[in-house]
Amino acid sequence: MFTRIATIARNTFTELVRQKVFYILLVFALAAIGSSIFMAQLRIEAQFQMIKDVCLGSMAIFTSLLAILATASFLPNDSEDRTIYTLLAKPVPRFAYLFGKLGGIIMLLLFFTFMMSVVFCAVLWMREQSALAQIHTEFSGAPAEELQLAVKSVTDATFNSNLLPGILIIFVKAALLAALTLFISTFATSALFTVMITAAIYFIGHLQATARESWLQGADIQWWTRILVALIALLFPDLQAFNLADDMIAGAAIPWEIFVKTFALGWLYVAVYASLAAYVFAGREL
């Protein structure tokens, strides 16, 4: 069974690559390099913060868009070109088909996040080197203590151990969105409907925590309020939990336990949405 899922995943990945989605990478690279050129006008510390803001923000936008758009289109496309019938006529269970498709999209998201991270790190490294060279020239006659402080201010502002967890959380959020889109597409009538509904859930998901906090305030909470909150928590994932990059750029550290919990929550949602999708798809008339 696993081999079948892996084969479908590999083919989905190849299919998506052939759709030239990597042009988005080009846009990302342009945004990263362009912003880095513009940032040269700003103060050294500001340059790094801006590069991180622009690059991590773009990574979050592009991975989310890719996750929603790529997933929303594959079921209607496969139905339209009748690939789905050929596939399901073979000894491939419906859930294996869905999981394989989701696997392929997650592989693409992982590769995409990795490539964007490489571009981001390269741009950051280049600016760091140029800032260090500038500092060494400016502080050539200054005491060693001042030079050390200036160099430290640059190295502290560029690469730190928080970048990797921040990027991984962006990837998990995209995987979650892909699984959610997959679930919606199993009962949707068109790709457009899937995209619209997922976009709506995306916005609601960012407000879920605020609503939950407000509803669960106070001592006398009715049982039906809890049921309602549970239902909402399930239908609309708490997407704010995955927006750690904003605070990370500002200097907040992501403790290991919080990273693990957030990461696990993301995959838990992926598992639940994928299972729901398989359940609905099993009963769907094709």
Partner: protein
């Protein structure tokens, strides 16, 4: 039918289990200053509908960067009022970012204040000076608000000290600010010296300044900078320190 009911029940149970987990994760993330920025109606008015939507959708830092670039353009056109408005929005979007508070304060207290003093369209010198002071105070307010959001920031505390010292000549307040900064983790080694220098200029705090600088002097050559030695000698004279306790005493 039974399968469907079972599936719904299982999902409901999963949802119920998820709520406490999400609540505890939410609390843990907030405790370490993650996802702790309140998105309120005031911000909605400043950002406009699309900006507010972007801030809600997890693109807060990217939006702050875009607005910061806009503020930079406003600076090039010397639109100080617009800059202040944009700084307010940027710092509301990213209140944990020390850089935004520091840069906003610097633009207001140094650049805008000087431009106000040099304003050729304002014939009254008194009004120009008043406008200059207002911009300096605006800069100081950014740092104070920044410190309210980041109370453990030695960097912002130091910047507040520098502003009070260089732009407002408030030596007592500057001394206090440097002293607070020197007690915080990540304080740079020279901050304690700065606190001593400023306190030495604050009437009634000379003894405090002397004790502080003497303690730093005793730490060794890396703290014995010319300004520290000169200030200590001046304080020794002012406080009438016995010759045996003075820094150039052969006994020390």
């Amino acid at each position: 039918m039974i399968r469907k009911i079972l599936a719904i029940v299982l999902l409901g149970a999963f949802g119920l289990a998820l709520v406490p987990f999400e609540q505890s994760l939410d609390a843990e993330q907030k405790a370490v200053q993650l996802r702790s920025v309140p998105i309120d109606l005031d911000l909605r008015e400043r950002l406009g509908q699309m900006g507010f939507l972007a801030a809600l959708s997890g693109f807060r830092s990217a939006l702050a960067a875009v607005l910061w670039i806009e503020a930079h353009n406003a600076w090039e056109r010397t639109e100080w009022g617009r800059m202040a408005g944009l700084f307010d929005t940027v710092t509301t979007l990213q209140p944990r970012s020390l850089l935004y508070w520091d840069m906003a304060a610097w633009h207001m207290a140094w650049n805008a204040s000087l431009a106000a003093l040099d304003d050729k369209s304002q014939p009254s010198e008194a009004l120009r000076v008043r406008n200059q002071r207002q911009y300096i105070k605006l800069g100081r307010d950014y740092l104070i608000r920044g410190l309210r959001n980041n109370p453990k920031s030695a960097f912002l505390q130091e910047r507040l000290g520098v502003l009070l010292r260089d732009k407002l000549d408030e030596h007592c307040e500057a001394g206090e600010a440097f002293l607070k900064a020197s007690e915080l983790p990540d304080a740079t080694p020279y901050i304690a010296r700065f606190a001593g220098y400023e306190l030495s200029k604050c009437p009634g705090h000379e003894q405090e300044a002397y004790d502080l600088l003497k303690k730093l002097y005793a730490k060794g050559p890396e703290q014995r900078k010319p300004t520290l030695v000169t200030t200590l000698k001046e304080l020794e004279k002012k406080l009438d320190v016995p010759p045996a306790d003075r820094i150039d005493s052969p006994q020390l």
